[in-house]
Amino acid sequence: MTEPHTTSALLYLDGITVSFDGFKALNELSFVIEPGEMRAIIGPNGAGKTTMMDVVTGKTRPDAGDVFFEEGAYDLSKLDETQIAELGIGRKFQKPTVFEMHTVEDNLQLALKNDRRVRSTLLWQSSGDQEKRVDEILATIRLSNLRSRVAGSLSHGQKQWLEIGMLLAQEPKLLLVDEPVAGMTDTETMQTAELLKEINRDRTVVVVEHDMAFVRELGVKVTCLHEGSVLAEGTIDQVSENERVVEVYLGR
């Protein structure tokens, strides 16, 4: 760290700008996530939601601005994906991305917090503790009866849950969840909301989502992005009554 930062936030974004060929995907984006919080991020297509996640996870480098993690202790703009993952930031992609050829159980085993170096994976042996942890996660994500199924054969909703389970297995401090309920049935959507609330008991969660019913169900603070910066922030009712939000996103 070059300069001291005094912030109590787990994730601190200040003045983040990212441009692609002159198009500003993020335009001086600033917001903070407090430890233990769950935050929903909404906004129209192209508002910069996914780019924001790319910046936090190290996939994209910001052109300007600060991204700090854990009360300013780490500057995420200087680390790569692997280092950021090791710090404890887990990410769920928009499209469910699980290892299709591996079983549900192996997907979780690969995600479990463990030594990730080549030598240790070559000589790795499963331990009772880890099996227990996998069992727990399977129960949380409601896939216990499908543990030996190949992940590619799961339904869309089950893949989404498996991916959330893989995030849990990493034991991250912060979970970034990109559109977890896209393509889910109403029942699955409500179950996913339950699941995220359960996870939020011990972890900080940031959810990007379009589904307003789902966001309402979560009942957390909402940030609405538009053209790469924050348009409104507050409870779901405050945000959905905001005139600008109605204009650019929710529609009249």
Binding site: T57, K59, E81, T82, A85, E86, G90, R91, F93, T97, V98, F99, E100, M101, H102, E105, D106, Q109, L110, A111, R116, R117, V118, T121, L122, L123, W124, Q125, S126, N145, S148, R149, V150, G152, S153, M166, Q170
Partner: protein
Amino acid sequence: MRAFPLTRLIDRAGVVFLVLLGAFAIAIPVLNLLVPASSSFHVTTYLVTLFGKYLCYALLALSIDLIWGFAGILSLGHGAFFALGGYAMGMYLMRQIGTRGVYGDPILPDFMVFLNWKALPVYWYGFQHFAYAALMVLLVPGLLAFVFGWFAFRSRVTGVYLSIITQAMTYALLLGFFRNDFGFGGNNGLTDFKDILGFNVRAETTRNALLVMSCLAVAIGFIICRAIVTSKFGKVLVAVRDAEARTRFLGYRVENYKLFVFVLSACMAGVAGALYVPQVGIINPSEFSPGNSIEAVIWVAVGGRGTLTGAVLGAILVNYAKTYFTSGFLAPYWLFMLGGLFVAVTLLLPRGIVGTLKWGMANRAAAKAVAAEEGADADPKAEVVPQTAAAE
């Protein structure tokens, strides 16, 4: 992922494969050396060497399957590592000729005398010792793979771009080795070998011994590959193959995983080349030709990518076909047939021979499991193994 070390390592197909290989390693020398030439069971020495050659190709195919089938790294330049291993062995064999060369120089190989060289180049030092040459067989391909992989994987060069630069690598080496001043015999390469470890390379017993060594090398290579792919490391490799970004966001250093397996694979290819050279009696720059590397990939595709046993089977079948068809009136059309075979396999049998068999069996077992799990309402024809990876 539970550990039952031995059964995990060698599955049923693996047992069958190793037993067949062992039987082959015993039967061929017996049929060649002990059965009289008049008997119809006699195997000619020509065939012994031919089989030995196939086995070297099989080891090369295994090394390609390890990286392509499991880590998704399609190298179209693996022939380079094979050839480098071959050259290292060839240099040892050249130094064994001694005064028996045409020019009778005790130190310099014939081609150097012919080029009017006065002293042995420094990089030829030490090759009179077998142990040193054997070390180089592993080290030279391994080092090249390390340097190449270090840059390529760190820069996240993947897919077709990686394949293209591997082609460029082997082509660059081809051009280099063609030059006389490179010091490896130029166009003619290295040949006219006499002894290996004091035994005449052309003797029947030596040829049989080389065949047995080749069988052993394939068996060891197979077991090493199995150990890799059945470990957690192997599961990470498959994860990289199927969803590289996901693996990275889980916190795995993908480039280190790729680099390790790429270097290991290059060393295996080097050993294959080293066993090949004393059996065919020559190594020249044409071994670096891009076409050779592509052909080796076709063997793996035919046998079944990601199956290991399939790679061996594919190498032997395609090369048998090559021997058969290039010795008759069909010879001019072999390349068309090879191309046609590749197209046919890609379109009709995307999993290859062994891959299709395994997939069929896995599907039946899985369908049974699903039926048991979900009761009578399960669809027995449900396709439970996804097609994505094999079809890529």
